[in-house]
């Protein structure tokens, strides 16, 4: 046991994660199967993520809009692969009214209020959106359409884990329409790069960019690009996907445009999304046995100030300094909290802010007032230093930048140390059993081999990494000219 009673990562990583999500007040299970409650502290982190992503989407020319929660059942069937992928796990609305039970026991579904056509709670919105784009697109002048929506979606899940796999989750889904294949591919890659930049610059989480195999592709896509991150337990996590949809949805919904010569063509499409799953990725990338470790750029509280005092007289002297620091830090855009709650001891507060991953903690005691100093503690390294009061603002800003960078560098080192090459299935299994990690290996390109390796190792092909051109012999079949891909056991 460590921190506020968390099991350690080495002892039981999965339990550590569950305990941390609960104890740091991030989220909890609701009584509704698979649906989570995102608590205020967890939601504040998600809001910071949203804010930066939204800015990045807008800077790349996208606008937000909102489409219906419900999708008529028949729409799902219009794209053959899509329905196969999504019909299996969806919430179906069949009625639109309840009535009082005859026996007075409560309310029951009113059989007279049955819908002619059932409605599906959106698992993703390609179908309802392309049904709409059909009305919006006539000419090349209507293109491109570059739209994003922030929404809740539902994919029925029997086994759920907070943030990682829930029946309802929050996400954004971009849906774009283009005149040419090239333009759509450029868009798909652009948004993958936006995701990668966000992951690296804000989450301090290095990612591998690549494309999925056909087997792992989004249902209805021609190509699925992804970013893959490596968690501290050596398992991979798909952190975002960007799909080149070709003309599949345009054909399914008959969406054409007249080009400059008047010729009608089907429109080219992309879609791309990240979800509250990123919360899980963030937690498992940096946190330690004492609790969360948050990158400063996403931390709801970047600096917590804790007074150490005996009696109201000391507190009021400390508060004078603290209030001044709070004002100065806020003026510099730093999210700071002064915690002068008299009902809680400093030691309790220290543990609490450690648990919550607050990047910097300032403690101020009577000796600091005498000496003109404060004590500054870093959450990531758990190191402390005394800083002159007049230097606090500069030091805080420097340290916040340093922590952001240090977390990223540490994660990069971890990724490097846990990336392997394997030349046989046995070798891969050995690596995965011992360390987990990303395992680079040659694969002959067939679904059969892919599934067989998965059977033997529990590892999936995370992606065909960007820029990888080396070829060799398949680790299962030995076929020559196999391509190099990245395997991992994954969330």
């Amino acid at each position: 046991m460590s921190g506020k009673g968390l099991v350690s990562r080495s002892e039981d990583f999965s339990k550590w994660y569950n305990e941390l999500v609960a104890k740091a007040d991030l989220a909890e299970h609701s009584d509704v199967r698979g649906c989570m409650i995102i608590k205020p502290y967890g939601f504040a982190i998600w809001e910071n993520m949203k804010k930066e992503l939204d800015r990045m989407f807008k800077e790349t020319g996208h606008q937000n809009a909102y489409f219906p929660l419900f999708i008529p059942k028949s729409y799902l069937s219009k794209e053959a692969n899509h329905v196969e992928g999504f019909a299996k796990e969806c919430a179906v609305v069949t009625h639109y009214r309840l009535k009082n039970a005859d026996d007075g026991s409560g309310v029951v579904v009113d059989p007279d209020a049955k819908l002619d056509e059932e409605l599906i709670v959106r698992p993703t919105s390609e179908t309802i959106i392309w049904n709409t784009y059909k009305k919006w697109i006539q000419s090349y002048r209507d293109l491109p359409i570059l739209i994003n929506q922030w929404a809740n979606v539902v994919r029925w899940e029997m086994r759920t884990r907070l943030f990682l796999r829930t029946s309802e989750f929050l996400w954004q889904e971009g849906h774009t329409a283009h005149q040419t294949k090239d333009e759509a591919v450029v868009e798909t890659e652009k948004m993958l790069n936006v995701y990668a930049s966000f992951a690296e610059e804000f989450m301090a989480m290095p990612v591998l960019k690549g494309v999925k195999t056909e087997n792992e592709r989004f249902a209805g896509a021609e190509e699925t690009y992804c970013i893959e991150a490596l968690m501290q337990d050596g398992k991979a996590l798909q952190a975002g996907t960007s799909h080149f949809l070709g003309q599949n949805f345009a054909k399914a919904f008959d969406v054409t445009f007249a080009d400059k010569t008047g010729k009608k063509n089907h429109v080219w499409a992309t879609s791309w999304g990240v979800s509250t799953r990123l919360m899980g990725a963030l937690i498992m990338s940096h946190s330690d046995d004492k609790g969360l470790v948050l990158p400063p750029k996403l931390a709801p509280i970047q600096v917590a100030i804790v007074p150490i005092y005996k009696g109201q007289e000391q507190l009021s002297q400390i508060s004078k300094l603290a209030d001044k620091l709070v004002d100065q830090l806020r003026a510099e855009g730093v999210a700071v909290k002064y915690d002068d709650d008299d009902a809680k001891k400093p030691g309790w507060k220290f543990a609490e802010y450690e648990l919550k991953g607050v990047p910097l903690r300032i403690a101020i005691g009577p000796k600091d007032l005498e000496k003109g100093t404060v004590e500054l503690a870093r959450r990531d390294t758990l190191t402390k230093q005394f800083v002159k009061q007049e230097d606090v603002i500069d030091t805080v800003q420097t340290l916040l930048n340093q922590i952001q960078e240090a977390l990223f560098n540490k994660a990069i080192s971890f990724n490097k140390a846990n990336s392997y090459e394997a030349s046989s299935v046995e070798e891969m299994n050995e690596i995965l059993n011992k360390n987990g990690g990303f395992v680079y290996a040659f694969w002959d390109g067939t679904k059969e081999t892919e599934l067989k390796i998965k059977d033997l190792t529990k590892a999936t092909i995370r992606c065909v990494p960007e820029g990888e051109i080396e070829k060799g012999n398949c680790i299962l079949t030995g076929s020559a000219n196999a391509i190099k891909v990245v395997f991992a056991r994954a969330y």
Copy 2:
């Protein structure tokens, strides 16, 4: 016909509204009954509303969180009034899977995937939230809880109008928990005041504050406070509500706390919400026969710059000035768009920005370059002036403030001019038939009278206005000691 082919307000207000919502690209009906699509321009206005409201909620100590979309059917029944109010119009999820139809015709509901207990798509979240608060609240130390969520909700509607009444809509719902009745009442009133401030300061829309009659109260509330606005057609619109819930939900879900003496008490509650309905209120408050008129504080584009030119040489000279103005305006936080689209004529652009309600338009032609001026046009008054180029930034800021104020003052005058007193039902009917408006009249306080007056006049009691103490004889029954309330025909 006027503007871009809008019917005029005087000719057909309802049609004018529908055409405006469509032509200004705000929203449209989807193929899913009652569910709307909020288009990018409409959504950008809603985003601006959200941003300001969210800031105001946080400044008054609230935090955001997220609760499940689905509510188990039995939860709805736990509060007797609540279920009466919401069971009649809800979307019911009964199954969690589709399967391929035997005849290959598509997908059908899988009868094996029937839920043990049906799930209701939330029409409002009191029940699921109080079921959660039960776990969060043990002691007075856990109180108050001050939480808000931004979410989609569904109330099945047969007759829908974009923004005003849709089956799915977007809103925020605050749900707070308190130790005492007084504290909860203070919170209820505080949030009503937040709504009123938002309506007046940002939407430039004066509102009447008051409480609803028992008949018009939220299902499950002890008291419903509301803000009521008057639209240009003389109809009232309920723009926001704040409910004092007493201990109703605490009792229904058995939520108690131990006070300082260790005694257990039921918790006191409030809930409060505004929705995308505010979009309808905004549109109908200020817009005219040429299109939208937006208050500068909520306009996605505050200033549009249109070049008037012949040939690329002139355009590039104008663009040099325009680019400079854009940079300067952006630096001052003004949302500005330079529209140098060569495929569209200036006249078309002028009409477009009028239709979209852009508060200020700057036109720059070759003569302006000679004279060192630009032409500045106000959307609200449709007046134009020439401004020296070096004065543009200051003038724009001054004018944006003036427009915001002018819209509010105009709406106040309209409200005053359309507020009446009636001393009989006949008089009220006459006023309403002729002008619409808010009609102040005495009412004896009974539901019977309220419904009878509604029958006779199609007017409902919008509220018992704040601070109103005058008493008199009921306009229907003549009973003495009747209270003064506000009647109106309403959206």
